[in-house]
C-alpha cells in the first residue's frame, strides 16, 4: 500500500548490474549513473564482525588495492552474479538513492535488472532479492543479451536472426535472437576481468614483475588490442619486481598485450563459433548476411571486431555506445512493460 504510494514518487529504473560497472537508466532521462561495482567496507567498529559501508562506486574503486587493514574494497559481483549478497544490496541501495536524490519519500521504484543468460535460478533469485532488499517495489529480470540487442537497436521483433555478442566484465554472452526470443544463447565466464588477469599473468611471466588489477586495466584500455595492427603502441608501467622485491618500471607494447590476451580472446571466439554452429540454418543465413553486433565494454577492445570478422567470416559491427547498451535496452523493455505488461521479454 505504502510502497504503491511511494512508487508514485519514484522513477522506474533499468539496472545493468555488471561485474565491472553498474549502470542505471531512468525512464525518460537516459543513463544517469555509470559507476564501478565496487564497495569499500569498513570492518570492526561498534561490534566485532560489524561492517559498514565506507564508499561506493568511483570513490571505492580508487581504493581498490590501496586500502589499509580496516577497509576492504570489494567487488561484490563476480562472473556476472552476486558474490557478496549483503554488499550488493547495500550498493544497489546506495545507487538507487543517488539516482533519486534527496526526496521526502523513500524511493520505491520498479526495477528491471539484467542477468546473464547462463545464470542459475539461485543466482537470479539472489539478484532479485538484492533489488527488493534495496527498496524496489517490483523487480523484473531480463536476460542480458536480449537487453543488449534491444539497446543496440537490433530488430529483435523481426522473424530474422540477429546475433549479439555482449562482452561484459565477468561474462561474455552470445545469443541469436528472433521474434523477441532467444533462439540460442551461451555464456562464457570470460570478460574484461579475464583480460586484466591475463595481462597480470603475462607481465609476471615475462617480466618477473607483479602488477595490480588496476594497472592491468589501464594497460588494456591504453594499448590493448585483439588483432595485429600496423601501429605499435607502448606504455610504461611500474610493478614490483618479484626477484628483487622492489618496484621497477618497464615498457609494454600492444603486440605483447595481443599475445597476453590470446587465451581469453580465443575462448570468446570459440563461443561465437559454437553459437554459429548450433544456430538453425535459416537464422544462421540471416546472421551471415547481416553480421553480428558487439556490445559491452569488451567491444571497446581495439580491433576486436576485426578479429571476429577474420575468424568467423561474418560482418561484425560494434554497437553505438556499447557500454550502455544493456541498460538502455532494459529501459526500452521497461517502457514496454509499462505499456503491455510483462510479456515474453521479461523473465519474472
Amino acid at each position: 500500500m505504502f510502497k504503491k504510494l511511494r512508487g508514485l514518487f519514484s522513477n522506474d529504473l533499468s539496472i545493468d548490474l555488471g561485474t565491472a560497472n553498474t549502470l542505471i537508466y531512468v525512464r525518460g532521462k537516459g543513463i544517469v549513473l555509470n559507476e564501478p561495482s565496487v564497495v569499500a567496507v569498513r570492518k570492526g567498529g561498534s561490534a566485532p564482525g560489524h561492517r559498514s559501508i565506507a564508499a561506493v562506486g568511483v570513490e571505492a574503486k580508487r581504493m581498490l588495492g590501496r586500502t589499509p587493514e580496516h577497509i576492504d574494497a570489494i567487488r561484490p559481483m563476480k562472473d556476472g552474479v552476486i558474490a557478496d549478497f549483503d554488499v550488493t544490496e547495500k550498493m544497489l541501495q546506495h545507487f538507487i538513492h543517488k539516482v533519486h536524490g534527496e526526496r521526502l519519500f523513500k524511493p520505491s521504484p520498479r526495477i528491471l535488472v539484467c542477468v546473464p543468460c547462463g545464470s542459475t535460478q539461485v543466482e537470479r533469485r539472489a539478484i532479485k532479492d538484492a533489488a527488493l532488499g534495496a527498496g524496489a517495489r517490483q523487480v523484473y529480470l531480463l536476460e542480458e543479451p536480449m537487453a543488449a540487442a534491444i539497446g543496440a537497436g537490433m530488430p529483435v521483433s523481426d522473424p530474422r536472426g540477429s546475433m549479439v555478442l555482449d562482452i561484459g566484465g565477468g561474462t561474455s554472452e552470445v545469443a541469436v535472437i528472433s521474434l523477441n526470443g532467444i533462439v540460442y544463447s551461451d555464456s562464457v565466464r570470460t570478460g574484461g576481468d579475464k583480460f586484466d588477469e591475463a595481462i597480470v599473468n603475462y607481465v609476471r611471466r615475462n617480466y618477473g614483475s607483479l602488477i595490480g588489477d588496476a594497472t592491468a586495466e589501464r594497460i588494456k584500455h591504453e594499448i590493448g588490442c585483439a588483432y595485429p595492427g600496423n601501429e605499435v603502441r607502448e606504455i610504461e608501467i611500474k610493478g614490483r619486481n618479484l626477484a628483487e622485491g622492489l618496484p621497477r618500471s618497464f615498457t609494454l607494447n600492444s603486440n605483447e598485450t595481443l599475445e597476453a590476451l590470446q587465451d581469453p580472446l580465443s575462448a570468446i571466439v570459440r563461443a561465437v563459433k559454437a553459437a554459429l554452429e548450433k544456430t538453425p540454418p535459416e537464422l544462421g543465413a540471416d546472421v551471415a548476411e547481416r553480421g553480428m553486433v558487439l556490445t559491452g565494454g569488451g567491444a571497446l577492445l581495439r580491433d576486436l571486431d576485426r578479429l571476429l570478422m577474420e575468424e568467423t567470416g561474418l560482418p561484425v559491427i560494434v554497437a553505438e555506445d556499447p557500454l550502455t547498451c544493456v541498460a538502455r535496452g532494459g529501459g526500452r523493455v521497461l517502457e514496454m512493460v509499462e505499456e503491455h505488461g510483462p510479456g515474453v521479454l521479461v523473465l519474472e
Binding site: 530488430p155 526470443g181 600496423n230 553480421g291 567470416g313 560482418p315 559491427i317
Partner: protein, 401 residues
C-alpha cells in the same frame, strides 16, 4: 594494405555531404582513390557486393536496420580512410530512421487472472450484492413475522392513543353536560338518542307517550347545531350533541329513557368522568358496531342495568357477550380460572362473572358485541384477523391481555 594503413592514420578532411546519395558518392570516390573495387570492399568487410553497392547508392533504407547500416558505413569509412563520425553525423541527419522495433509482435495479450484487481473487485461487488439481497430478504421476512405477532399490541397502543386524543371531546362535552340537571345521562345517550333518526325511534317514541312529540321535535332541531358546532365529534356523537348546546334538552331525553336514567342515577357520581371517556374512545374508531348495536338491540342494555347494583358491591362484575354468529369465546379471570371456554352459538347471550381482571379471547370478533356492566365495549381495536384478545380491568377499561 593501404586501406588498413589508412585506418590508423588521420582521416582525410572532407567536404560536408548534403544528402544520402552524396554520402554514398563520397565513399565510392574514396574507394576509387584507393584503387579498390566493390568486390574488394565486400571481401574485406565480409559483406555481399550488393550491400556495398546499396551503400554507395545511398539506398540505406534497403539495409536491415539503422544499427547495421551505421556499422557497415563505419567499417567502410575506416577501410577507405574517411572519418566515420562525420559521415555518420550526415547519415543521422538525412536518413529516415526506420521505425524501431517497438511493437513487439509476439507479445501475448496479458492473461486475465482471478488475482487481477478488476476481476477481484467485480467478484467482491457481486458477493456483496448477493449477501445484501439475502440479508434484506431475511430481515423483511423477520419483519413480517414480528408484525404478525406484534400487531395486536400495536393496535392496542393505537387505541390508547386514540382514547387520549379523543378525550378532549368527551371532556369538552361533559362540563357542558355538567350544567344539565342529570349529568350521568351522557352514559345513556348513545343507547337512547340513536333511534330518533332511524326506525328505532318509533319504539322510543312509543315508549314515551306524554310530550313525545314535543321531545323529539327539539331534539331534531338541535341535532343541526350539534353537527356544525362539534365537528370533532363523530357520527356516534350527534346524540350527545343535543345535550351540550342546550341543557334543557337533556331532561327531555331523560324522560324518554326513563328506566335507564333511573338506574344510572346512583352510579353517576363515581363514574361521571371516566365512563364517558371510555365510551367515546371506543366509539370513535368504529361507530358502526355501536350504532348497529344500539339500533338492533336497544333492549339488552336495560336488562343489564339491573345487574349493576348487585355486581358492584360483590367485586365481581358481569361481562356479557352477544353473538350475532357462532364465535369462540374464552374468558379467564385473575386466578386463571376459565370462566368460559367454548364455542358460543349464534344469537346466544353469554354472561360471565369472576375475579377481575378478565382475560378474554374472542374468535369471530366482528360478530360479537361485548358489554361490561351493561356498558358496550368496542373490541375492534384489539382484533387482528377477526380474533380479539384483550383484558378487562376492574374499572371497565380494555387493556392488553
Amino acid at each position: 594494405m593501404n586501406a588498413r594503413a589508412a585506418r590508423d592514420e588521420t582521416y582525410v578532411e572532407e567536404a560536408t555531404v548534403s544528402s544520402l546519395q552524396q554520402l554514398g558518392e563520397r565513399l565510392r570516390q574514396a574507394r576509387e582513390a584507393h584503387g579498390l573495387n566493390v568486390q574488394d570492399i565486400a571481401a574485406r568487410l565480409h559483406l555481399s557486393a550488393s550491400v556495398v553497392a546499396t551503400i554507395e547508392n545511398g539506398a540505406f533504407e534497403q539495409l536491415p536496420a539503422a544499427t547495421y547500416a551505421r556499422g557497415y558505413m563505419r567499417a567502410y569509412a575506416h577501410l577507405v580512410g574517411l572519418n566515420p563520425e562525420s559521415l555518420l553525423a550526415a547519415y543521422d541527419q538525412y536518413a529516415t530512421q526506420p521505425p524501431e522495433l517497438n511493437p513487439f509482435a509476439s507479445t501475448p495479450q496479458p492473461q486475465v487472472k482471478s488475482t487481477d484487481l478488476p476481476v477481484r473487485m467485480v467478484t467482491y461487488a457481486v458477493i456483496a450484492i448477493v449477501v445484501g439481497l439475502l440479508g434484506a430478504w431475511l430481515w423483511q421476512s423477520q419483519e413480517l413475522r414480528s408484525v404478525a405477532s406484534l400487531s395486536v399490541p400495536k393496535w392496542g397502543a393505537g387505541s390508547d392513543d386514540q382514547s387520549v386524543v379523543t378525550e378532549p371531546v368527551p371532556t369538552g362535552v361533559s362540563p357542558q353536560a355538567a350544567s344539565a340537571p342529570a349529568a350521568g345521562s351522557i352514559d345513556v345517550l348513545p343507547a337512547a338518542p340513536a333511534p330518533p333518526p332511524d326506525t328505532a325511534a318509533q319504539p322510543a317514541a312509543g315508549h314515551a307517550p306524554p310530550g313525545a312529540e314535543v321531545a323529539t321535535g327539539p331534539a331534531e332541531v338541535q341535532v343541526q347545531p350539534a353537527v356544525t358546532q362539534q365537528a370533532a365529534a363523530t357520527a356516534a356523537h350527534p346524540p350527545s350533541a343535543p345535550v351540550s348546546p342546550d341543557g334543557a334538552s337533556v331532561p327531555v331525553w331523560a324522560d324518554t329513557g326513563r328506566p335507564i336514567s333511573n338506574t344510572v342515577e346512583p352510579m353517576s357520581g363515581p363514574r361521571l368522568a371516566v365512563p364517558p371517556a371510555e365510551g367515546a374512545a371506543t366509539a370513535t374508531p368504529s361507530d358502526g358496531p355501536l350504532a348497529e348495536r344500539s339500533m338492533t338491540d336497544p333492549g339488552p342494555l336495560t336488562p343489564a342495568m339491573p345487574a349493576v347494583p348487585e355486581a358492584t358491591p360483590g367485586g365481581a362484575k358481569v361481562l356479557s357477550f352477544e353473538l350475532a354468529e357462532d364465535a369462540w369465546l374464552e374468558v379467564t379471570d385473575a386466578e386463571d380460572k376459565r370462566l368460559y371456554y367454548n364455542m358460543g352459538r349464534q344469537g346466544s347471550r353469554i354472561s360471565v362473572q369472576g375475579v377481575m381482571p378478565y382475560r378474554v379471547k374472542v374468535g369471530n370478533a366482528p360478530a360479537v358485541s361485548v358489554s361490561f356492566e351493561g356498558r358496550p365495549l368496542d373490541i375492534s381495536a384489539f382484533s387482528y384477523e377477526s380474533v380479539a384478545r384483550f383484558s378487562v380491568t376492574p374499572d371497565g377499561f380494555l387493556a392488553q391481555p
